[in-house]
Symmetry: C2
Subunit: 483 residues, 2 copies
């Protein structure tokens, strides 16, 4: 049995009931975190605790109290434990508290003078978050009860408080908690009520290591601790928080891509899209149906660049979206708004110069990145943005990368990409023109350099960094003096 | 001639043409900054440079190139120099760049996935800001050309770059630049394009002292400098920025109230309002027609508290608004939304339990604060909020103060007011109930303590602090080591 125990809200597979046999059968989950973490589980041969999402998941959980063997699904020697949550609690935890309130707050998506308006529903949401996190902690401790020297890796913002419930159950065992999102400034974090914002940080600090993709999120997290946790001593320089004798290391650990993921999903654009593009140059914008992905401004910049430059006018733009959480109002509004601006630009151009493709097909995403002459990722704010790395590696047409400074990825790729402000349409249009009119040898040199940098961030390096930070956290003495 | 030269965008008086005589005659300006700074000018007997706003202002500027004597208007020995700006430049500077873009950015009012969308108009707005700020600098230098050892006090966010244009004209003369607004986090400041956000900070740092009302804004400003100004060395602890050998002190200087202002404007509620209130307990919310003032959530909290508590149900609520910048879309939308929620609560209650009064009468504002049984200031974000102090001093009914943590004033009054989160309706409703049901002796003790604290922040102390920080800035050596 592996001594590594991994927790994520979503499993890599969601089971559904086969219409013919009535038996549960696995299907690949949507969502970027689950697939990245699946590759992590594969690499570590870990034990994995996730939430049962579907009815078939619940059935599988009942049948396999000692975990599901994932070997037949190609994830060797990993066991999956599915947790059954009380339905209303899980609904409040998932659809309301994390996917709506936390997501919007962390990404600064509120129009603050109108929303949020916190009432008693938020307190119930927070209690559901606590309950669910506690349930994860108990399941982790149970699963690890016979393991010698267990290590706990807890992934993403839905499970930030698991550490505090797990700590008393596992003593000095090492716990890492990783958030795949940005972390907001102290002023933005202050939007949350005091009964959430302080306790959530305090509970997270029960981990030995807290990880983010970028240094900017580490800095913000430390500022939030300073603002909300009484008695915490903070070293911004060392990335450490001390409360009493307990030390938590807060670290940036960049991830770029998963080699196995890129290997197993062959890129393909598909015949219809290939015909539509033809031999034209292609700009690709790829992301979920999530307002942080900023497609309407990308379309606006493309339209502005088109008016100013013949090379852009002759080009086409593909907006590739993975349908995601369309039950959240703002996600649905984002999709509508993207459609509206694309229709307007096409009507004005008198041809379909921009196409929206709404599809969860990963091969199609990778295919569009491979075919692109320019990859355009202008997120408002984005924990990392793996597409920036994947596109840089897969593309063989010397495509430029136009990347938002709001992406964690800008820390790794800032010197080898065209970095833009996500609100500045002019700057984005300039970058499109420059990227599509670059001399071929210059374009090749730039994309070669960028691929070399991107290749430095494979998943195994990221996983190894998590483990080595956990080991370093053995250091007995704090470097932070008492106040 | 005084050696102190004060600059504000708005003068304390705006001239208008008399309908009968056709001659310019003065009227009191709207806007909190101008009236506070007027009292500052009165106290310092300073020379004052402002923008000519109206046609009559332009005429006065033409007639009085050596400054207007304000003695007849009750501001002794101060001279006012009105600057004539080119109309389109001033429009871009005032209505677009400062009142819209900077205001919204600094207060975090954008719904980021929809707005802002920066195009070439923003660059023209920024150029107009630079041009106007340069014009102020030249006028200050001209006015001070015969003064020995002049001191320059430059007030508010419209004039943050004046220092950089003034510095080469006045050598080592002391310059203070004060912003009456909050300062945003580095992430929020990043919304602005790179050609604004870095240069604006660098230009501001040509001052010897930069002042804000609260320490929180100082911290944010220093973070923004670290994020945007290459080569700046920052001491968060000392509140200092060093660039080369030049040091800028960044300081919190709280202001509470202007004693002369409170003396000269007698509080009066007016007969009609007095009849409407009768002997009932009264909750007062006071502020401009500005979304930061958060009236809809105050109304929501009052409605929630009404349903839960008889004391609140028997009370009335006055929402007193000063009409301000209603040409800005979001301000007009805010007024509409406030009206809508008030109408809904009244319709539901079957009586006019809440009344909106839209009026610039300062005496009426002070009268409502004096009459209040609870003062409710729940701003989303507010540089200081002088009303919190004025109300605490004027009120003689032992009213509680329910104050947002988003106000700079919360730093001075945090221990003697009920501090609430501006987004948490429940918490605000609880504070209303607690405030209106407090035992009389407790209420009296609290309001006495609060008045004593508020009285510690009179305008002369604030002005003296500005001057003493300028004098301290003579210290020859930086405390910040080179990088």
């Amino acid at each position: 049995m592996s001594n590594i125990f991994l927790a994520t809200k979503r499993a890599p597979f969601e089971y559904e009931l086969d219409a013919t046999t009535g038996q549960p059968r696995p299907a690949i989950s949507a969502g970027g975190t689950a697939s990245v973490v699946a590759d992590q589980a594969q690499y570590l041969r870990t034990n994995w605790i996730s939430s049962a999402m579907s009815e078939a998941d619940q059935e599988m959980a009942r049948r396999h109290p000692d975990g599901i063997d994932l070997g037949p699904l190609g994830i060797e020697t990993s066991r999956l434990f599915l947790l059954r949550h009380e339905a209303q609690t899980f609904e409040r935890f998932q659809h309301f508290f994390t996917a709506d309130v936390l997501w919007r707050t962390i990404h600064g998506l509120w129009e603050t003078w109108r929303a949020p308006n916190f009432e008693s529903s938020l307190r119930r949401g927070w209690e559901a978050y606590e309950t669910t996190n506690e349930q994860f902690a108990r399941a982790l401790a149970d699963a690890a009860s016979r393991a010698a020297d267990p290590l706990f890796l807890i992934h993403d913002y839905q499970l930030l408080c698991v550490s505090s419930y797990l700590r008393p159950l596992v003593g000095a065992s090492k716990i890492l908690s990783f958030s795949h999102l940005p972390w907001p400034s102290a002023d933005t974090w202050r939007i949350l009520p005091s009964y959430v914002r302080g306790p959530m940080l305090e509970r997270a600090l029960a981990a030995d290591v807290i990880g983010f993709f970028a240094h900017r999120w580490v800095w913000n997290f430390l500022c939030c601790v300073e603002d909300n946790v009484q008695g915490a001593r903070i070293s911004y320089h060392n990335g450490e928080v001390a409360i009493g004798r307990r030390i938590t290391r807060v670290r940036a650990m960049p991830l770029g891509y998963s080699p196995s993921s890129l290997r197993t999903r062959p890129p393909q654009l598909g015949e219809e899209l290939e015909q539509w593009v033809g031999s034209r140059r292609l700009v690709v914008h790829a992301g979920r149906t999530d307002p942080i992905k900023n497609a309407p401004r990308a379309v606006g910049a493309f339209a502005a660049a088109r008016e100013r430059d013949d090379a852009v006018q002759a080009a086409r733009m593909l907006v590739k979206m993975n349908p995601n959480r369309l039950y959240v109002d703002v996600n649905a509004a984002y999709l509508d708004e993207t459609r509206r601006v694309i229709d307007a630009v096409n009507a004005n151009a008198g041809e379909e110069c921009i196409r929206l493709v709404l599809d969860n097909d990963v091969g199609l995403t990778l295919g569009s990145l491979a075919r692109a002459d320019l990859i355009f990722l202008n997120s408002i704010l984005d924990g990392q943005n793996l597409t920036a790395f994947e596109g840089s590696i897969l593309n063989d047409r010397h495509a430029d990368l136009v990347l938002s400074e709001g992406c964690g990825a800008a820390e790794a790729l800032g010197d080898v990409a065209a970095i833009i402000n996500p609100f500045n349409i002019d700057e984005q249009a300039d970058a499109l023109i420059e990227g599509l009119t670059r001399a071929p040898e210059d374009a090749q040199m730039r994309s070669d350099r960028r691929r070399a940098v991107a290749l430095e961030y494979p998943l195994p390096r990221w996983v190894d960094q998590q483990l080595s930070e956990l080991r370093l956290s053995d250091a007995p003495e704090s470097t932070i003096p008492s106040a």
